[in-house]
C-alpha cells in the first residue's frame, strides 16, 4: 500500500527498539552512576529534548564518545552521535580554560615544541601537577605526553625530494601527536612505506582533526578545522593519492565525525582515508614483499582502540601483526582503556577513567607481553601510566621487524 512505502522513518533515533544492548556495552555506565547511559542519553533523550530543550541533561558530558554503543546496536542507531550532537546543540556553556587548553592539541604543541625539554621537565614535576590540578582541574595523578624538540613536518620536508623519487606515492595525515610528541612514529611509517617502494607526502598544511574540540564544546573551531582538512585532503585525493593515518581517532574523526557531528560534507575524501595498517596489509595481501629480520622476536599483546572497533578495522592491524615472523601475538579482549582522549585528564573523570580501564589492565597483566600494540596514542598514555607496560604503535613494531 502506498502509505506503507511512504512512512519509513528518516529519523535514525526512531529505529531504536529499546533492546537496551547498548547499556550493557557502555563502559561509563558501569562505573559512573551520574551517567544516564547511552539509551537514555541517546534515542530516549532525543524525544524528550525535541519536546523541550529543558530536558537536555548536563550529565551527557560523561559520555566518552567511545562509540561502543553504536558498535553494539543491532538497529544501526547512531547513539553516541545523538549524544554528542545534543551536546553541540544544547550545551551553551562556554568551555573552561582547561578544556580549551586540552582541546587545542595543535596550538599547545606549537607552543611547547621550541622549549620542549623545559616543558617535559616541568610537567613531570609533582609540584606542576599539583598546581595544574588546583588551578585547572587536570588530575595530578596523570602523566603528560612528552614533547619533541623537532616537529615531524620539518623532518619530512627535509626529505621531500628523496620521498618524491619513489614510483608510488601516498599522503600521510600525521596528526598532532606524531608532529609534536612522537615524530619517531612518523619516521617508522616512512621507513616501512619506503621499503614497499612508496614515497610519503605531507598534505598541503593539515590541521588538528579536531576531535578534542568536538568533545570539549568547541564545535565551531572544530568545524573550521574540518572544512580546512577536507579541502587539503581533497587536493591529495584529486591527485590520485590515498591518505593514511597512524592514529585511529584522527582517521575515524575525519571519516565519520565530520559528517555526522559537524555536518561537513566529506564524501569526496572519506573512502580514501585509511589507517596505515590497513593500507599496508592490503599491499602485502596483493603480493608486495617486506624483508623481515630473521632473528626478530617480540611478545606483543594487541589492544583494539574503541574507534578502531567502530571502524571495524582492528582486524587489519591484527592480520598485519600476524604477518611478522617472530612476533608472538595475543589479541586482548576488547575493552575501553578509559582515557578517551582528553576525558581522563579531567579531575572529575579520573576515578571513572581508571575504573573503566581496570578490566583491560587486568588482561594486559595476565598476558604479560613485552609490549602492548595499539593504534591510538591516548590509549598508549593511559596503558603506560596505569600498567607500566610499554605501548607501541603497530607501525613502529613493523618498522623494527624489517631490515634497515
Amino acid at each position: 500500500m502506498s502509505y506503507q512505502e511512504k512512512t519509513i522513518s528518516n529519523h535514525n533515533f526512531e529505529e531504536c527498539t529499546k533492546c537496551t544492548i547498548c547499556t550493557l556495552y557502555c563502559p561509563v555506565m558501569k562505573v559512573n552512576p551520574l551517567y544516564p547511559g547511552p539509551k537514555q542519553a541517546g534515542p530516549d533523550g532525543e524525544r524528550l529534548r525535541l519536546k523541550n530543550p529543558w530536558f537536555f541533561n548536563y550529565a551527557l558530558k560523561y559520555c566518552m564518545n567511545c562509540k561502543r554503543c553504536e558498535v553494539s546496536c543491532p538497529s544501526g542507531v547512531g547513539v553516541a552521535d545523538l549524544i554528542q550532537s545534543a551536546r553541540i546543540k544544547y550545551d551553551k556553556s562556554a568551555p573552561k580554560l582547561r578544556d580549551r587548553m586540552l582541546a587545542s592539541t595543535d596550538f599547545m604543541g606549537k607552543l611547547a615544541r621550541p622549549v620542549a625539554p623545559l616543558v617535559n621537565f616541568g610537567t613531570s614535576l609533582g609540584i606542576t601537577k599539583t598546581a595544574l590540578d588546583w588551578t585547572l582541574g587536570i588530575d595530578h595523578r596523570r602523566s603528560f605526553p612528552k614533547y619533541s624538540g623537532r616537529s615531524f613536518e620539518s623532518w619530512l620536508k627535509k626529505h621531500a625530494s628523496k620521498q618524491a623519487a619513489f614510483p608510488e606515492q601516498v599522503a600521510y595525515f600525521h596528526g598532532c601527536y606524531v608532529n609534536y610528541n612522537n615524530p619517531q612514529l612518523g619516521k617508522d611509517l616512512v621507513k616501512v612505506l619506503n621499503a614497499l617502494g612508496i614515497g610519503v607526502q605531507l598534505l598541503d598544511g593539515e590541521k588538528c582533526c579536531g576531535i578534542a574540540m568536538i568533545t570539549n564544546g568547541m564545535s565551531a573551531q572544530a568545524t573550521k578545522h574540518a572544512k580546512h582538512n577536507v579541502a587539503v585532503l581533497g587536493k591529495a585525493v584529486d591527485a590520485g593519492l590515498k591518505v593514511v593515518a597512524t592514529s585511529s581517532t584522527c582517521a575515524f574523526t575525519m571519516r565519520d565525525e565530520y559528517r555526522s557531528l559537524l555536518g561537513v560534507d566529506n564524501s569526496a575524501v572519506r573512502d580514501s582515508i585509511l589507517m596505515a595498517t590497513r593500507y599496508i596489509y592490503e599491499k602485502l595481501e596483493n603480493g608486495a614483499k617486506l624483508r623481515f629480520k630473521p632473528d626478530f622476536h617480540l611478545k606483543a599483546a594487541y589492544h583494539t582502540p574503541c574507534h578502531m572497533e567502530k571502524m571495524g578495522w582492528g582486524v587489519f592491524t591484527e592480520r598485519l601483526l600476524r604477518m611478522i615472523p617472530g612476533l608472538e601475538l595475543t589479541v586482548l579482549d576488547s575493552a575501553c582503556c578509559g582515557i578517551a582522549g582528553t576525558y581522563g585528564f579531567k579531575k572529575e573523570n579520573y576515578a571513572s577513567s581508571q575504573a573503566i580501564g581496570e578490566e583491560l589492565f587486568k588482561h594486559i597483566r595476565e598476558a604479560d607481553p613485552e609490549v602492548v600494540a595499539c593504534d591510538c596514542e591516548t590509549c598508549k598514555w593511559q596503558i603506560e601510566m596505569s600498567t607500566g607496560y610499554t605501548v607501541m604503535n603497530p607501525i613502529s613494531i613493523l618498522a623494527e621487524a624489517i631490515e634497515d
Binding site: 512512512t7 519509513i8 522513518s9 528518516n10 527498539t17 529499546k18 530516549d44 524525544r47
Partner: protein, 528 residues
C-alpha cells in the same frame, strides 16, 4: 445521611463527568461519580488533546468559538500543568483559497480570538516543519492539553473536597419514585457485587454512552456517534499546532502533545453497537498520512506509533451524514422540563475544551433542582498541581540527582510532584520517564487498579516501546499493591493486547520490528 445517599450522582468518568463532579463538590454537594470502566476511556482520551482557540469554529459556529477562547484562557490559568501554550498556525496552501483567510480572521476577531496574519516566511521560521509551500499563515492562541491529566486532576480535586468515585461500576437500572429518578442500581464489574445508590438528582454525563443511559431512564436524547481516527507519531515534529485555513475537513490538525504529535481526524458516522470497539481502517490511515503530510511534509518520513479512534457524542440537529456542520455547542437537558422526568439531567454536546463550562451548567441545573443556591467558582480555582511558577523549581525538589524522570514528573504533575519527593526514583517507563514513585502515587491516590489505568494517569507505556519494558515492571508494582500475582498476569496480557490494537493498523517498519521484539520478550522469554 446514609452511606449510600448523596446529593447528586454523576454517571460517566470522562472529562464532563469529572468536571461536574468537581464543581458539585466545590459547591459543597455530596457527590458520587460512577464510571463503567475507568477515567477518560471514551472521547475524553481519544482526541487530539488540542487546546482549541476556537478559530476552527469561528466561521461556521461563532457561539462555540466564543466558548472555546474563553475556556482556553481559563484553562491556562486553572490547569497550567495540563496545558502547553504552544500557539497555533492556520496555513493556506496553494490549493486553498487565500480569500478565505480574511473571512476567517474577521470571524476570529468577532469571537474574541487574537488572530494575526503573519508572513509565510515568518511562519516557516516559527515552525520549521510546516509545509514550505504555504502562501498564507494566521497565528492563533491554540495550545495542547493533556486530557488524561486534566481528567485525573479534576477527579482528585473532587476527592479532596469529599467526592466519592466508583470506577469499574456499571449502572444496571434506575430507581424510580413515580416520575422521579431517585437512585441507581449498579454492579461492580470486577467483583460482581450489586449496590444501590440514592440521590435526588442524577446527571447523565456518559458521552456517546449517554444515549443508552437516557434510554434506560426512558427518555430519548437524539445523539449520533461520529467516529474520528487519529495517528500518533513517535516524536514531536512540530511545536506549533498546525491547522489548514479552510472549511474544516479531514486530517487538517496536527497537534504537538507531550513527547509526540497527533494528526487527525476523520469523521464517519458509525452505528451505536460499534462505539465500544472502534477500529481504524487502512483507508483512514492512508488519508491521515496523505493529508497530514500536507501540513508538515516530515510526517511522511516519521515513525507512527499508534492509530486510535474516538467517538464524538454529537447531538443530532440536522441530517448532515458527516457531522461536520453540526454545532459542537453544549447541550444541557433538564428532563423534568423536557420530558417530565424529575431528578435527571443530561449534559452532552460540547467538547473537551468546554468541559468546565459544561460542568458549570450541569451543576447549576443540579443546584436548581435541589434548591442549593451557590454559584460556580471553578473559573478561578486552580486544579491540584497547577499552581506552578517554575517547573525547574518543582523538579529541583524531587530527588537529588538531576534526571529526565525528575523533569518529566514535574511537567506531568506540576506542584503535586512534591508528593513523590520521598519515593522510589527507579525509572519504570524509560521512554516517558515514569518513576516507581509516580506509579505508586497513582495506585494509592488516583485509584488506578490496572496497567491501562496507570497509563492514563502517568503515561507509562505510551512511549515508543509501547510497554515492552515498563509493562512487566509496572505489573510488579500492581501485583505488590493488590497482593495478587495471577490477576496481574492477566492484566499484563490485556495491556499488551491493547497496545497491539493501536500498533496493528500501522504495523510496518520500525513499529513492527519493535512489536515483534515485544512479542518475543513476553511470549518466548517470559512465557506469557
Amino acid at each position: 445521611m446514609k452511606q449510600n445517599e448523596f446529593d447528586v450522582i454523576i454517571l460517566g468518568g470522562g472529562i464532563t463527568g469529572a468536571g461536574t463532579h468537581r464543581d458539585c463538590c466545590l459547591r459543597g454537594l455530596r457527590s458520587l461519580l460512577i464510571e463503567k470502566k475507568d477515567i477518560a476511556t471514551g472521547a475524553t482520551g481519544r482526541n487530539h488533546g488540542l487546546l482549541h482557540s476556537g478559530a476552527r469554529y469561528a466561521v461556521n459556529d461563532p457561539e462555540s468559538a466564543e466558548e472555546c477562547i474563553r475556556e482556553n484562557m481559563i484553562l491556562r490559568r486553572i490547569a497550567a500543568h495540563c496545558v502547553e501554550e504552544t500557539d497555533g498556525l492556520f496555513i493556506t496552501l496553494p490549493d486553498d483559497d487565500l480569500g478565505y483567510q480574511k473571512t476567517f480572521v474577521d470571524a476570529c476577531r468577532k469571537a474574541g480570538i487574537d488572530a494575526q496574519i503573519i508572513d509565510p516566511e515568518l511562519a516557516r521560521r516559527l515552525e520549521p516543519s510546516v509545509n514550505p509551500a504555504l502562501i498564507g499563515a494566521v497565528k492563533v492562541p491554540d495550545g495542547a492539553v493533556d486530557p488524561f491529566r486534566l481528567c485525573a486532576a479534576n477527579m482528585l480535586d473532587a476527592q479532596l473536597h469529599g467526592g466519592q468515585v466508583r470506577l469499574g461500576t456499571e449502572v444496571t437500572g434506575f430507581i424510580r419514585e413515580g416520575d422521579r429518578i431517585v437512585g441507581v442500581h449498579t454492579v461492580d464489574r470486577r467483583t460482581g457485587e450489586n449496590a444501590d445508590y440514592y440521590a435526588p438528582v442524577t446527571v447523565n454525563a456518559g458521552g456517546i454512552w449517554g444515549h443508552g443511559i437516557a434510554a434506560m431512564a426512558g427518555v430519548e436524547v437524539g445523539m449520533y456517534p461520529a467516529k474520528g481516527a487519529l495517528l500518533i507519531f513517535a516524536h514531536r515534529v512540530n511545536n506549533y499546532v498546525i491547522n489548514r485555513c479552510r472549511k474544516p475537513s479531514n486530517a487538517d490538525i496536527l497537534v504537538p502533545g507531550d513527547t509526540v504529535c497527533i494528526i487527525g481526524t476523520t469523521s464517519t458516522r458509525i452505528p451505536f453497537e460499534e462505539c465500544d470497539d472502534v477500529a481504524v481502517t487502512p483507508d483512514e490511515v492512508d488519508l491521515l498520512i496523505t493529508e497530514g503530510a500536507q501540513l508538515a511534509p516530515a510526517l511522511s518520513s516519521t515513525r507512527i506509533l499508534r492509530a486510535y479512534a474516538g467517538v464524538r457524542p454529537l447531538v443530532s440537529a440536522d441530517n448532515d451524514p458527516t457531522g461536520r456542520s453540526i454545532s459542537r455547542g453544549i447541550v444541557c437537558l433538564d428532563h423534568a422540563q423536557r420530558d417530565g422526568l424529575e431528578g435527571f439531567v443530561t449534559i452532552t454536546g460540547g467538547k473537551l475544551m468546554t468541559y468546565r463550562l459544561m460542568a458549570e451548567q450541569a451543576t447549576d441545573a443540579v443546584c436548581r433542582m435541589i434548591g442549593v443556591y451557590k454559584a460556580s467558582y471553578t473559573e478561578n480555582t486552580p486544579i491540584p498541581g497547577s499552581q506552578v511558577k517554575s517547573y525547574e523549581e518543582v523538579a529541583g525538589k524531587i530527588w537529588e540527582k538531576p534526571s529526565a524522570a525528575q523533569k518529566s514528573a514535574a511537567s506531568r504533575m506540576g506542584t503535586r510532584a512534591a508528593d513523590i519527593s520521598e519515593g522510589d526514583a527507579s525509572v519504570i517507563c524509560e521512554c516517558e520517564e515514569v518513576s516507581a514513585a509516580e506509579l505508586k502515587l497513582a495506585i494509592d491516590r488516583l485509584s488506578a487498579s490496572t496497567l491501562t489505568d496507570l497509563r492514563r494517569r502517568t503515561r507509562v507505556g505510551m512511549g515508543t516501546c509501547q510497554g515492552q519494558f515498563c509493562a512487566c515492571r509496572a505489573a510488579g508494582l500492581l501485583a505488590e499493591a493488590h497482593g495478587c500475582v495471577e490477576k496481574e498476569r492477566r492484566d499484563l496480557a490485556d495491556f499488551l493486547q491493547e497496545r497491539w490494537k493501536g500498533n496493528f493498523p500501522i504495523g510496518w517498519g520500525d513499529t513492527l520490528r519493535e512489536a515483534e521484539f515485544t512479542q518475543w520478550t513476553y511470549k518466548h522469554v517470559l512465557g506469557l
